[in-house]
């Protein structure tokens, strides 16, 4: 083997180790006996499933309601996904297919607002939810996640742009109206982009920390992101193995979804990008 190629393989292996080490370490920690962060060996001497079971048991000495948090997170993510995806599809379709007055300026506004992280105006969102008495409620969180979802419409718009117009024109000649064109021609063709949007919205809601932390104040209403953060923050790594088990359970569905969607990743990233 050429020495240059050997160097490359060594580098690749090194990067591979670095990439996978944290995940591997966490998984192994979650099976380790005891609860401390510290361990003598990388691979546990004794294996146990206790920490996973522990997550779903209540103990008087601490307040970790993992099952409750998991259920909250699932509810928030699922409802936000449904509402968010619908809103985003409608917006993208309108901008892609129709030429109406004020369209370009509106797209400019969408782009600018879309780059503006919602949490910058968190004070205002906080007060608005307080006014609606939706503060400290998961439905308030759902509202926040789904209301702004239309701003992420550029990927879907790019997709709709590629559906040939001749299809619609043919349908129109056959007497289809706007509604039936959307439901019977565009939607069936858009399955990949619908999958993409709903997965993105789902994972976005599943992993969001900022809004969940700001809006949900009582432990009963927390989502997993806030809950896991609090395990680290308030138990100061003394419940580390438990935390590791919690992390593994949260991460598995998302990691699998991401691996599955990685082929969409490039499209998503370049949707707002210049022509190559």
């Amino acid at each position: 083997m050429k020495p240059k190629l050997l160097v490359s393989y060594v580098l690749l292996a090194l990067i591979g180790v670095v990439s996978i080490y944290p995940a591997l370490w966490t998984v192994l920690s979650s099976f380790r006996v005891g609860n401390s962060l510290f361990s003598d060996t990388f691979i546990p001497k004794q294996w146990t499933l206790d920490h996973y079971m522990d997550l779903f048991r209540t103990r008087g000495t601490r307040d970790i309601q993992y099952a409750k948090w998991f259920w909250n997170t699932l509810q928030v993510a699922a409802v936000s996904t449904v509402i968010g995806t619908i809103l985003q599809l409608l917006t993208a379709y309108a901008f892609s297919r129709f030429r109406f007055k004020g369209r370009k300026p509106m797209m400019m506004v969408v782009l600018i607002l879309g780059m503006f992280p919602g949490f910058l105006s968190i004070i205002a969102i906080f007060s608005i939810l307080q006014k609606l008495t939706l503060l400290d409620s998961k439905w308030g969180l759902v509202l926040v996640y789904s209301a702004g979802s239309a701003l992420g419409m550029f990927v879907a718009k790019g997709f709709f742009d590629t559906i040939p117009r001749s299809l619609e024109e043919a349908a129109r000649i056959d007497g289809a109206n706007n509604m039936s064109i959307f439901f019977r021609i565009i939607l069936p063709l858009s399955r990949p982009i619908i999958t993409y949007i709903s997965l993105m919205t789902f994972t976005g809601a599943w992993v969001d920390f900022i809004f969940a932390r700001a809006i949900l104040t009582s432990r009963d209403e927390w989502t997993l992101a806030v809950g896991l953060w609090s395990i680290i923050d308030s138990y100061n790594s003394t419940e580390f193995t438990l935390f590791a088990a919690g992390c593994v359970l949260v991460a598995i569905p998302i990691t699998v979804l991401y691996m599955y969607t990685q082929r969409f990743l490039v499209d998503g990233l370049t949707a707002g990008a210049s022509k190559g």
């Binding site: 190629l5 503006f116 910058l120 040939p164 920390f209 590791a244 707002g272 990008a273 190559g276």
Partner: protein, 415 residues
């Protein structure tokens, strides 16, 4: 309103518009004025004692912030009413004209359809994105802050530009602002550049001629991207734990002392950048690998014929291609890093603490500082002023980016 449609014999539409008009008029003149007035005064009575018979009783005062929200809401409602009114007139005029030209008006609803689609998303964005921004901008011009101006106990007042003045000129605030801003910029540049070039290097490494199992390496390296960010950041926080973390444990195994990864200002800054590379490199890598496949082979063949070296080929063919294709992404990543809340907040919490700053730690970015000011310290007006500054910056970057956007320029290419 509605009469035009009646005249055009669109009776359902006419009734709808008339109903909208009636409610609109009622709302605009009977309901809204006190709210709009509240927006100007922000309330004039705080919590105060009131005499009821012989005893004094504590009476709740005006809630300035709710009055402000109501005021902004009232203004938005007013705008929606005006908008509907304009829409109504325009609709009547176009339909009327078409009718005069002898066309069937029922087929002319196409112009309305996109607005129908956009109505609900539009309202969502209006109330949960636009209104919060307006509201935040307004707060920056008040004295809404702890400890003396928190409703419902106290009133909040308009104070003009004095919040900005404090932010720029008052010792304590201005030191913190300049310090945090400087670090935010340094961070954004370093984080963007390291991830960008790191990603390119990794992609080139995989893409070399002779390297086998390309798909395997790609999948392996993408793992950090696939794990939810908050999970991997919290894990990193533990790995870098000074006393018990595995990283320092390995250092000790080699007889070294271990480093205060997250507890020393300088090391904390280095740690966040390195951890951010771990998270960010896979994204650029995937992107660049995609671009590499689009570079025409014959360019390299021609270069070979001319006797170009590997380096020359890289510099004159590969790099220009990558740069050209990824320039806008570079901008959006830069903006993303300016607002990179998660990496900082979950890893260091903005710490380690420092005495030089007001309510901020050494690795705090503007956004995490803003978050702490809001959630922990209730300094809402300062936080709002910071938010406005960030927003101005983002808007500029976004417009720059937008001018080069594919879905903006190249639409209508496929017909």
């Amino acid at each position: 309103m509605g009469l035009g449609q009646w005249y055009n014999r669109q009776y359902a539409k006419a009734v709808f518009f008339a109903a909208v008009y009636a409610t609109g008029l009622y709302v605009a003149f009977a309901v809204l004025p006190p709210y709009l007035k509240g927006l100007i005064t922000l309330g004039d009575k705080g919590v105060h004692l009131e005499k009821v018979g012989k005893i004094s009783r504590l009476v709740p005062g005006d809630h300035s912030i709710f009055m402000m929200i109501n005021g902004v809401l009232a203004m938005l409602v007013l705008l929606v009413i005006v908008f509907l009114y304009v829409l109504n007139i325009r609709d009547a005029v176009t339909v009327g004209r078409r009718r005069a030209e002898g066309q069937d008006p029922s087929k002319l609803n196409n112009g309305m359809f996109p607005w129908l689609l956009l109505a609900i998303p539009f309202l969502g964005v209006l109330f949960f994105t636009v209104m919060p921004i307006v509201f935040t901008s307004l707060i920056a011009f008040t004295n809404y802050s702890s400890p003396n101006h928190i409703p419902a106990k106290n009133l909040v007042d308009w104070v003009g530009f004095s919040t900005f003045n404090n932010l720029f000129n008052m010792t304590g605030w201005s030191d913190t602002f300049v310090g945090v801003l400087t670090w935010t910029i340094i961070w954004a540049i370093l984080a963007t550049v390291t991830c960008y070039f790191g990603g390119i290097l990794v992609a080139l490494l995989i893409n070399q001629q002779g390297v086998k199992f390309k798909g395997f390496w790609r999948t392996l390296f993408i793992i950090p991207y696939a794990i939810p960010q908050f999970v991997s950041l919290l894990i990193m926080r533990n790995m870098l734990n000074e006393q018990f973390g595995p990283i320092n444990q390995y250092f000790r195994a080699f007889g070294l002392d271990g480093l205060p990864w997250l507890n020393d200002p300088l090391w904390a800054k280095i740690s966040v950048i390195v951890v951010n590379m771990w998270i960010g490199i896979p994204v650029t890598m995937v992107l660049v690998m995609g671009i590499l496949t689009t570079i025409p082979r014959d360019l390299y063949e021609a270069a070979d014929v001319d006797g170009a070296s590997q380096w020359m080929k890289f510099r004159n063919i590969t790099m220009p291609y990558i740069l050209f294709a990824t320039a806008p992404i570079l901008i959006s990543q830069f903006v993303g890093n300016i607002n990179n809340f998660n990496v900082i907040y979950l890893l260091t919490g903005g710490g380690p603490a420092t005495v030089n700053y007001n309510n901020a730690g050494s690795t705090d970015l503007l956004v995490t500082w803003l978050f702490k000011l809001t959630i922990d310290f209730k300094q809402y007006n300062i936080a709002a002023a910071v938010a406005i500054l960030i927003f101005l910056f983002i808007a500029t970057a976004a417009i720059l980016l937008f001018r080069r956007t594919k879905s903006y320029q190249e639409e209508d290419m496929i017909q």
